[in-house]
C-alpha cells in the first residue's frame, strides 16, 4: 500500500469504442490524458500509472460506486479533460488525470475552469493520495459530504520539478490528436510474476 514497496504491475489500456454518456447515477468517470499509460508509464515522481489507476479505482470501489475509464485525445489541459469526463459521467462526477500525476475532481454543472478538488502539485501525489481522491469522488457521486483530501504543499516542489514538468507537458502535448473524440477504455492491471 505504501509507495515504497509497490509490487510490479502492468497496465494495459484497450480502446473499446467512442465514449458514451453514462446513465447510471452511481458511476464516476476517470479520464486520462493522451499519453497516460502509453507514451508514459509513470508519474513525475515515478508512481507507476498502473498503481495510480488501481488506487483511484479501489477508492471508488470501496465506496460501492461503479467506475468507467475514458481517454480524452483532443487536449492535454486538465480542466478540459476533467470537464469533458464529468459531462460523460452518469453521476456528473469525474476524476481527470495527467500523465505526470496532476489530478482534479470535477462536476458537470461547474464552469470548466472551476473544480471540486484540485491536486496541482504532481510531485507530492502518492498511492495513498490517489486512493483518497477516488474515495472522495465516489462520495460526491453518492451525494455525501466528504472532507476534502488534504492537499500537501511544498514550496520547493515548483523550482525543483518545474523544468521536468514542462518537458513532460510538451511530450504529452505531442500525443494530442486534434478533433478526435474521447474513447472508452478497458483497463487490465496484472501483477508481474516474481
Amino acid at each position: 500500500m505504501t509507495s515504497l514497496e509497490i509490487p510490479q504491475r502492468t497496465l494495459t489500456l484497450t480502446e473499446t469504442g467512442p465514449a458514451r454518456r453514462g446513465t447510471r447515477p452511481d458511476e464516476v468517470v476517470i479520464a486520462v490524458s493522451p499519453a497516460f499509460g502509453g507514451t508514459f508509464t509513470q508519474t513525475i515522481v515515478g508512481v507507476p500509472h498502473a498503481e495510480v489507476l488501481r488506487q483511484l479505482m479501489a477508492g471508488i470501489e470501496e465506496q460501492g460506486v461503479g467506475v468507467r475509464i475514458v481517454r480524452v485525445w483532443a487536449t492535454a489541459d486538465l480542466a478540459a479533460i476533467s470537464h469533458a469526463a464529468a459531462r460523460l459521467s452518469g453521476s456528473g462526477i469525474s476524476v481527470g488525470l495527467l500523465s505526470r500525476g496532476t489530478t482534479m475532481i470535477h462536476q458537470k454543472d461547474l464552469a470548466r475552469l472551476s473544480n471540486l478538488e484540485l491536486f496541482p502539485q504532481s510531485p507530492l501525489l502518492d498511492a495513498d493520495v490517489f486512493r483518497a481522491i477516488g474515495s472522495n469522488a465516489a462520495q460526491y457521486a453518492k451525494g455525501e459530504s466528504p472532507q476534502p483530501v488534504p492537499t500537501r504543499n511544498d514550496q520547493m516542489a515548483r523550482p525543483r520539478w518545474q523544468a521536468k514538468a514542462a518537458l513532460l507537458h510538451l511530450k504529452e502535448f505531442e500525443c494530442i490528436r486534434d478533433g478526435a473524440g474521447p474513447v472508452e477504455l478497458e483497463a487490465t492491471i496484472e501483477r508481474v510474476a516474481g
Binding site: 500500500m1 505504501t2 479501489a58 462536476q107 459530504s145
Partner: protein
C-alpha cells in the same frame, strides 16, 4: 426652548449595539417621535471608550429626524445593566477501554454481513494456522487489498474456517469483493497492532442501513463467549458502547473492560441569604438548579478548590475581573448560575480505532452584579462634545418596559424579557408604574458554546452562524433542500466549495459547516441548545417577577433584545408559555423598530412623563 418644545435624544449603550431615539416633547407633555439610529458599541459598555459609539448614534438619529446638533436640548443616557456574565464547560464522564476489548468506531464502509466468532490470528501467520479452529484474521497496515484477499482465499481453500477479518486500512469492501467465501470485515482500525492475538473474538457487520443486533446486546455477547452471570455484568458497558453501530469487534481478554468512569468534578457551594447548600456537579444540571432554587436569592457561589468546578468558577471570576477593569477576583460575588447538561463527543481512551463516545458535560453560566458604573464619565464626554445637557436615566429594565409599551397592542402590567448575549433580563411594570427587574445568567453566548461543543466544531464563528441562520443541504449546483424539506432552485450555480455540504444560509450566501453530521442532527442540536438556555431562563426569570411566582398572573410578555430577532427562539418561548394563558410575542417598539430601541425609547418616555 422656543414655544416650550424640547428636542431630546435617548441613548442606550448595550453590550454589542448602541441605539438612539430622537423625539420632540411639547410643553403639554405630548411626544412626537422623529427618528432612531443603531450602531456598534465602541469598547466595553459604560467605559469612556463607548462615548464614540454614543456620539455616532446621536448624530445618526439627528440625521434620521432631519435636525441639527445645535437644536438638541437634552441627551439621556441609560444606567447600564449592572451584570456581567461568564461561561465555563467541563466534561464529567470518560469512557475508557482497557486491554483492547472492543472496537466500535463504526467505519463508513465495512464489508460482508453477519457474525463471525473465532480466535484472532495475524494474516502473516495464517499459513500455519491449524485447520480446526475458526480464525478471525487481523491485518496490519501495509498489506495491499489484493494480497489480503489472496491470503484469505488461500486459507479457505486449505480448509481453514476463516470467519471474519479486521483491517487497518480502508479496504473492507475491496477485500470482500475479492473473497470466494463471504464473511464480516471491519476496517479502518488504526491501532490494529494492539488487537491481542490468540484470543476469542467476535466480529459483526450489519447490512446497509441496519445496526448490529448481537454484540450490542449484553446477552448476545454472553451467548457468543459463554459467560457466567458475573462476567455478563462486566460486559454490559461494552454492549452499551456498541449500540447503534453498523459494525463492531469484541475481543475477550482475561481482564479487559470498558468503563464509563465519572470524573470527580467537585462540589459547588451555593450561599444564599439564609442558608448554604452544597451540590455535587457530576449530579448534573437538574440537581444544581434544584439546589439553586432552594437558596434563592443567591449571594455567592464557590467551587471546591483544586477541582474542575473550582477551576471553572475561578476562570469566570478572572474574566469578570478583567472586564471590570482590575477588580480583585476575590471581591466578585456570583449572583446567579445556570447549569446545562450537554454532550461532548470525545475520543475514547484506550480505543483502537479513534472511537468517539458522547461524554456527559456540564455547562455553567455565571453572573455577577457590578456596582461601579463609569457611565458618568461617558455622560461628561458626551455633554462636552455636543455642548448639551446630559442626564443619566433610570433602571434599564424599567426603561425597556416603558419602551415596550409603545408596541401596538400592549398595555401595563407588562413584563419585558431581554434576551441578550450574556444574561437574560426580565422586568415587570405594573399599571401603577412600579417596576421589578431580575437578571439571570445564561443567554446567546451559552447557546453558541453548546452548539460548538456538541457538534465538535471547534470554531466559535461557525457555531455563531449555526445559531443565527437556518440550515440547508446543497444537493446540486442549482438547488438546495432547506431544513423544512422544501427545495429551492437557483439560476446561477452555487460556489464549488459548498457542493454536497450542509450549509447555513447567511445573508452573504451559503457557508459550509465542517461536520460529519447530517442536517437533521445539526438542527436538533441547535434547537435543543436554544431551548435549554432561553426557554429555561425565560421561565426562571418570569417566575421571579410574576406576582406570587405564578405565570398565570402575567398578562403581556414582550420579548426584546438581539436574540428576540432570532428565527425560532421567540416561537419556542411562546410555545412554552402558551399553556399559562400569557400573551407573548416579539416587541415592536414605536410600531416599526421591532425588538430594538426599547431602552432608548423608554428613556425619552420616562423623561417626558417626569417633565409633564
Amino acid at each position: 426652548m422656543s414655544g416650550g418644545d424640547r428636542l431630546v435624544v435617548g441613548v442606550d449603550i448595550g453590550n454589542s449595539t448602541t441605539e438612539a431615539c430622537l423625539a420632540v416633547l411639547a410643553a403639554d407633555g405630548d411626544v412626537r417621535w422623529l427618528g432612531t439610529a443603531l450602531t456598534r458599541t465602541t469598547g466595553v459598555k459604560g467605559t469612556p471608550a463607548s462615548t464614540e459609539g454614543a456620539l455616532t448614534a446621536v448624530r445618526r438619529a439627528l440625521a434620521d429626524g432631519g435636525r441639527r446638533a445645535e437644536e438638541l436640548d437634552v441627551v439621556l443616557l441609560n444606567e447600564a445593566t449592572p451584570v456581567i456574565s461568564g461561561l465555563a464547560m467541563e466534561t464529567i464522564t470518560e469512557t475508557v477501554i482497557t486491554e483492547s476489548t472492543m472496537i466500535g468506531h463504526d467505519p463508513a464502509t465495512p464489508g460482508g454481513v453477519g457474525l463471525g466468532v473465532g480466535v484472532t490470528v495475524s494474516v502473516a501467520d495464517l499459513g500455519e494456522h491449524p485447520g480446526d479452529e475458526p480464525a478471525v484474521v487481523v491485518v496490519p497496515r501495509g498489506w495491499d487489498f489484493d494480497d489480503v484477499a489472496a491470503a484469505l482465499n488461500a486459507a479457505v481453500a486449505r480448509g481453514v474456517p476463516v470467519v471474519a477479518a479486521v483491517l487497518a486500512g480502508d479496504d473492507a469492501v475491496l477485500v470482500s469483493n475479492r473473497l470466494t467465501q463471504q464473511m464480516p470485515v471491519v476496517d479502518e482500525v488504526s491501532a490494529v497492532e494492539k488487537v491481542p492475538l490468540g484470543m476469542r473474538a467476535a466480529v459483526e457487520v450489519a447490512g446497509p442501513g441496519r445496526t448490529i443486533r448481537t454484540l450490542s446486546n449484553t446477552y448476545g455477547i454472553a451467548t457468543v463467549f459463554d459467560l457466567d452471570p458475573d462476567q455478563t455484568r462486566q460486559v454490559s458497558p461494552v454492549a452499551r458502547a456498541l449500540t447503534g453501530n453498523r459494525s463492531a469487534v469484541v475481543v475477550r481478554t482475561p481482564a479487559g473492560d470498558v468503563t464509563d468512569r465519572r470524573i470527580p468534578v467537585g462540589v459547588l457551594e451555593l450561599r444564599g441569604a439564609g442558608r448554604t447548600v452544597t451540590v455535587d456537579v457530576d449530579a448534573g444540571a437538574e440537581a444544581i438548579m434544584a439546589a439553586l432554587a432552594r437558596v434563592q436569592p443567591l449571594e455567592d457561589a464557590h467551587g471546591e478548590p483544586g477541582t474542575h468546578v473550582g477551576g471553572m468558577l475561578a476562570a469566570v471570576r478572572d474574566t469578570m475581573a478583567d472586564t471590570l477593569g482590575g477588580a480583585d477576583p476575590g471581591d466578585i460575588a456570583i449572583r446567579d448560575v445556570l447549569a446545562v447538561d450537554t454532550f461532548v463527543p470525545a475520543e475514547v481512551r484506550g480505543g483502537l480505532a479513534g472511537e468517539i463516545a458522547l461524554e456527559n458535560a456540564v455547562g455553567l453560566a455565571a453572573m455577577v452584579r457590578t456596582s461601579r458604573s463609569r457611565m458618568q464619565a461617558v455622560a461628561d464626554r458626551v455633554a462636552e462634545s455636543l455642548t448639551t445637557a446630559t442626564e443619566i436615566g433610570g433602571v434599564e429594565g424599567e426603561m425597556a418596559a416603558l419602551g415596550a409599551l409603545t408596541t401596538p397592542g400592549v398595555q401595563a402590567p407588562v413584563v419585558v424579557v431581554d434576551l441578550g448575549g450574556g444574561s437574560t433580563d426580565a422586568a415587570l411594570l405594573t399599571a401603577d408604574g412600579t417596576s421589578t427587574a431580575v437578571h439571570v445568567a445564561g443567554a446567546g453566548e451559552l447557546v453558541t458554546k453548546l452548539i460548538d461543543a456538541e457538534l465538535a466544531l471547534e470554531d466559535r464563528e461557525v457555531a455563531e452562524l449555526v445559531k443565527r441562520w437556518p440550515l440547508a443541504k446543497v444537493e446540486s449546483f442549482f438547488h438546495v433542500r432547506h431544513e423544512d424539506g422544501t427545495v429551492q432552485f437557483f439560476d446561477e450555480p452555487l460556489p464549488a466549495h459548498v457542493f454536497a455540504r450542509v450549509v447555513v444560509l447567511t445573508a452573504e450566501g451559503p457557508v459550509p459547516i465542517g461536520t460529519r453530521h447530517g442536517l437533521d442532527h445539526v438542527r436538533r442540536v441547535r434547537r435543543e441548545a436554544k431551548r435549554r438556555v432561553f426557554v429555561v431562563n425565560t421561565l426562571r426569570a418570569l417566575r421571579q417577577v410574576a406576582p406570587g411566582g405564578e405565570l398565570r398572573r402575567l398578562d403581556f410578555v414582550v420579548l426584546l433584545g438581539g436574540s428576540a430577532l432570532d428565527f425560532e427562539i421567540p416561537d419556542q418561548i411562546a410555545d412554552a408559555l402558551a399553556g399559562h394563558g400569557v400573551v407573548c410575542g416579539t416587541g415592536n417598539v414605536l410600531g416599526d423598530q421591532g425588538p430594538r430601541n426599547a431602552v432608548a425609547t423608554g428613556l425619552v418616555a420616562a423623561f417626558a412623563g417626569g417633565a409633564g
